[in-house]
């Protein structure tokens, strides 16, 4: 597998694997709304961070950055950023739905989305740090 292909799918791959482990271990989803409150707060913080990162890269003007923008890697960077933002957004919405209804599989899907949000965020923040410190 080529490095880019692995980079593209690893958050989904690991999130899926961890969700399966969560289901296999029959971990009970906590009752009450505290965990949903905490989840929405974390999701909102991540969205805020990613939106800020987006505006930071929009203001970069160095020659190295201009060269980078002209390559296909820039499209890859924006797609990772979008994936992370949408994962966080979807995570928040899913948690809000949990206030009203919680089917039997809710805990497993919540865990899957938690891992996906975390891993897509780790991926983009790692690359953004590399870019901001090198251009």
């Amino acid at each position: 597998m080529k490095p880019r292909h692995f980079e593209r799918i690893y958050p989904y791959l690991f999130a899926g694997a961890l969700a399966v482990a969560f289901w296999y271990l029959h971990v009970a989803f906590p009752a009450g709304a505290d965990i949903l409150n905490a989840s929405i707060t974390i999701g909102a913080i991540l969205i805020g961070f990613l939106a800020t990162a987006k505006s930071i890269i929009a203001t970069l003007t160095t020659e190295k950055w201009q060269r980078f923008k002209a390559t296909l890697f820039f499209g890859l960077l924006t797609s990772y950023l979008e994936e992370a933002i949408y994962a966080s957004l979807f995570y928040c919405i899913f948690c809000m739905v949990g206030y009203f209804v919680r089917p039997a599989w809710y805990g497993e899907v919540w865990f899957l989305l938690s891992m996906l949000t975390l891993l897509t965020f780790v991926r983009i923040s790692h690359h953004l740090t590399g870019i901001i410190s090198n251009v």
Partner: protein, 285 residues
């Protein structure tokens, strides 16, 4: 007058002879095309067998020379608003083999401009013409004979992260790491020069071979040597000569006598092109 040899690459189906005839049939005013802010045009044309002789001019509208004498002060020329200095450039195209012999005029029309002029003449239907300079292979023998090298200049274009790396499956992680290694400079020039009367202990032939091996495509996909020059002389020579180790082109100097108006007359320039054309017949392959 310096003369250079070029191979003309024509796109399939393009008839240059027809294009030259078509342009030549127009009045001067309609032949002008703008190039770098000045008008240029094919001024005159004659056909001798397979040889198409053309004369181009660049109408230089910015600053130019004055008229001055030993006993008279410098004064300007009386030029109209639509007049400038006509920089002339002779051009010879051998239709039998596609080679061109072109006069070099620093202020005049350059070969790339000639190719663009013919290729883009029909704005609706532009075609890509290319005048490719002939590389001088004899420079290798010259390099070997020059034992005293006083200066070496090498220009390197560093490798840049690009779409080639993306195509082979490179990830964003590798790209951001490569950004760290990239320099802000597009070109890195290294010059090594010796003190007067001394020379650098370097083998010119080896240097040339090394430079040619590292001369890449210059598109940033790999680090590449883009220029390699030495300033050198033989044991018995007094003056040094600059030799381009990568892109030495075939040129010759014709000794022409300027006319009373201090211009090289067109027949003399064209004759020099014809002489160079005969002399370079063996190189036209």
């Amino acid at each position: 007058m310096r003369i250079e040899l070029f191979k003309l690459n024509l796109p399939r189906g393009f008839d240059l002879a027809h294009r030259i005839t078509e342009i030549n049939a127009l009045p001067l005013a309609r032949r002008n095309r703008l190039k770098s802010g000045d008008n240029m045009r094919m001024e005159y044309h004659e056909l001798h067998g397979n040889l198409w002789y053309c004369d181009f001019i660049r109408l230089r509208m910015n600053h130019g020379p004055s008229r001055a004498g030993v006993n008279s002060a410098a004064e300007g020329f009386d030029l109209g608003d639509d007049e400038g200095f006509g920089e002339e450039t002779g051009f010879l195209w051998d239709a039998s083999n596609g080679w061109c012999v072109v006069q070099y005029n620093h202020y005049g029309v350059r070969p790339t401009a000639i190719a663009e002029y013919f290729g883009d003449w029909d704005h609706q239907n532009p075609v890509g013409l290319e005048l490719q300079p002939k590389i001088d292979n004899t420079v290798q023998a010259k390099v070997r004979s020059k034992t005293h090298i006083s200066k070496v200049t090498v220009v390197v274009a560093p490798k840049l992260m690009g779409n080639d790396d993306f195509d082979i499956g490179g990830g964003l992680g590798a790209a951001t790491k490569a950004l760290k290694r990239e320099s802000d400079a597009d070109r890195i020039e290294i010059t090594i020069s010796a003190k007067q009367t001394r020379s650098i202990d370097v083998n010119g032939s080896l240097l040339q071979r090394w430079a040619r091996r590292l001369a890449g495509t210059d598109d940033g996909s790999e680090a590449a040597v883009t220029t390699a020059r030495i300033t050198a002389r033989t044991e018995n020579e007094r003056g040094s000569e600059v030799l381009d180790l990568l892109n030495a082109t075939v040129t010759t100097d014709a000794d022409l006598t300027p006319g009373p108006d201090r211009r090289y007359p067109r027949p003399e320039r064209w004759n020099a092109l014809a002489v160079a054309h005969i002399g370079w017949r063996d190189l036209m392959r």
